[in-house]
Amino acid sequence: MKRITIDPITRLEGHGKIEIFLNDDGGVKNVYFQIPELRGFEKFCEGRPVEELPLIVTKICGVCPGCHHMAAGKAVDAVYGVTPTPTATKLRDLFYMAHFIHSHITHFYFLAAPDFVVGPAAPKGERNILGVIGKVGVDIGKEVIKQRRFAQEIQALLGGHQTQVMMNLPGGVRKGMTEEERDDIVEKAKGFVEFGKFSLKIFEDVVLANKEYVDIILNGPYNLKLHSMGLVDDQNMVNFYDGKIRVVDTVGAELYKYDAADYREYVEERVEPWSYLKFPYLKKIGWKGFVDGQDSGVYHATPLSRLNAADGMATPLAHKEYERMYSILGGKPVHATLAMHWARLIELLYSAEHCLELAQDPDIVGKELRTPIKSIVGEGVGTVEAQRGTLTHHYWTDEKGIVSKVNIIVGTTNNNAAINMSIKKAAEGLIKKGVEVSDGILNMIEMAFRAYDPCFSCATHSLPGEMPLIVEIKEADGKLLQRITRN
């Protein structure tokens, strides 16, 4: 039996490893997507004062520290039974929109666009941001970098630092905003809205106008029928900062809608001996194995699942794009994995519009930054939508607020089973008898997980990094048949 190892896989955050086993006839027998790292925040956060956790969990990930900071901040509020002031809540939400804008720009232009703008099987040396700039022009490249920087600057202003975020204290935030700072954000947010519209136009011109790409998205080996999870507001519109968790099934019917604090009634996690990352599934359905379909407990929590699980977007331009996407892709829910990229851009536009709304809200420059703490509950759950899926932090403390237990279900972790299955399906569709396993084919297999924008530094709370790629195709006895290297 032949065996193909892709290790480490690239253009994701953190590390992953793909093992593909081939039948004697050259077809795919099985695929394992392994996560080789773990740090153990659940354990070493014990003993810390709970208000320190928002500062510690930011180190789970250098790409989405703001998500962990927000989920932790909300969990700590709950531990103290305190509701932040309206100004504090809006400042957090504003920070969070800037966080989404920076992350979604990073993913689309730096990580995903090389596959679409440059081409899925283009020479490997061009499948990067420089290749993208080469195609779309230097001016657009500069604009991408500028908008991303503006989003980082807003986070740094509100959060103290864009990566080492220190914004939240129980009951509110450490720092408010002046009217001058607000005026600057309003101007930047107007630019974000234009940039969000522009990004969807690029998607239209480069991806949707290319029949080959549309065919790959709709008919390629990138489809899984999964249940969809996402946070919604009281109108069932997509929300990133707060709301209820809604799960719709593979045909779009609502399965559950619940308070995030009740997550344990709806989600369970299982352990496999070949990965450090656990596999969540819908508890009431149960684990039925690595299978998709209506009877499976496997769900996904991604930009696409958020849109599937909601009735629309809460801002006008993004909502228009939402309706357009579903009308072009044939109604809800959409199961085309690569449509996650489209959904991500609609979320980018929503984040931009909501950022502008918040910046123009009179409360945003309010002076009431913290609600005083009077007592302690001793347990709290904080949930937000991270860019990569529903993120839940759950803390227990003693009567002094010293942490006794921590449970975390990270955005990407929700998608562990789904990513395994997506990779297998792509491999099955692409590796066949008589087909040379080229670098382009392997990249198209990687596209199956890249759509999820997975962050395994987050998911296993392990260290991030990007490395050269070596692929080895071996006989079952370990004899090397083919070696493909990147970088």
Binding site: N30, K43, F44, G160, H161, E269, P273
Partner: protein
């Protein structure tokens, strides 16, 4: 220094894996399955790196050319360091700390500090309304400024958060905790041992604070069981 993951030295490998893979409230694992360095599946053997009991520092496991502190290092410092390297300037000796100052945060702090202010109580950050300009320690809020290198441009301080020491200790400090205890001793305005004990009682989780980023370099280094 080990960074935040170094805090895992407060527990053992067994306790950590047990928490993550068995105890966590959403995990169902009645068979006690743990990830294995080698695991036989139907198609072959799958491998994972072994999980160690001990978090060690970078220099403990590999040869290090330069140490650049910060979690994360500030972008200004990165630009300075890269500029120095590509300009062909003479680089400091191997093993040096680069991209950070040698002074302590307190030496150049942007917050106001009085000459001989003493305190009689420590507060958790949420117990007081920080005035935004007075030294955190003088407000009774624990701050790693006395032992931490400069180089971060006081970003946390400007964000109204006390320093947590991510730039690591100054060159003269061998153990951050020892240095911090000495700094704390000099600011407590009590003489009687019982009164001092009362003040220290409000100092929660000192080890987790003093060694937030550096436990694997500390004298205490790790828990034994």
């Amino acid at each position: 220094m080990g960074g935040i993951p170094g805090l895992a030295n407060f527990s053992t490998k067994e306790d950590l894996l047990n928490r993550v893979f068995e105890e966590t409230e959403s995990t169902v694992n009645t068979e006690g399955i743990r990830p294995q360095p080698q695991y036989q599946v139907e198609e072959g053997v799958l491998e994972l790196p072994e999980f160690y009991n001990d978090v060690r520092t970078l220099a403990d496991v590999t040869d290090v050319d330069y140490f650049m502190p910060g979690c994360p290092p500030q972008s200004e410092r990165l630009v300075e360091v890269f500029t120095a390297i590509v300009s062909g300037a003479e680089l400091p000796p191997k093993g040096s700390v680069i991209g950070a100052g040698d002074k302590a945060q307190c030496d150049e702090c942007i917050r106001e500090k009085s000459e001989d202010k003493k305190i009689t109580k420590f507060y958790r950050p949420w117990e007081v309304i920080d005035d935004g300009k007075t030294c955190f320690m003088e407000q009774g809020i624990l701050c790693m400024g006395p032992t931490t290198r400069t180089g971060c441009e006081y970003r946390c301080i400007k964000g109204n958060a006390a320093c947590r020491g991510c730039y690591g200790p100054t060159p003269d400090v061998t153990d951050s905790g020892a240095k911090m205890m000495s700094a704390i001793a000099s600011i407590i305005d009590e003489k009687e041992p019982s009164a001092i004990d009362m003040v220290l009682e409000d100092l929660v989780d000192p080890a987790g604070f003093f060694y937030r980023y550096s436990l694997p370099t500390a004298y205490i280094r790790r828990t034994m069981s």
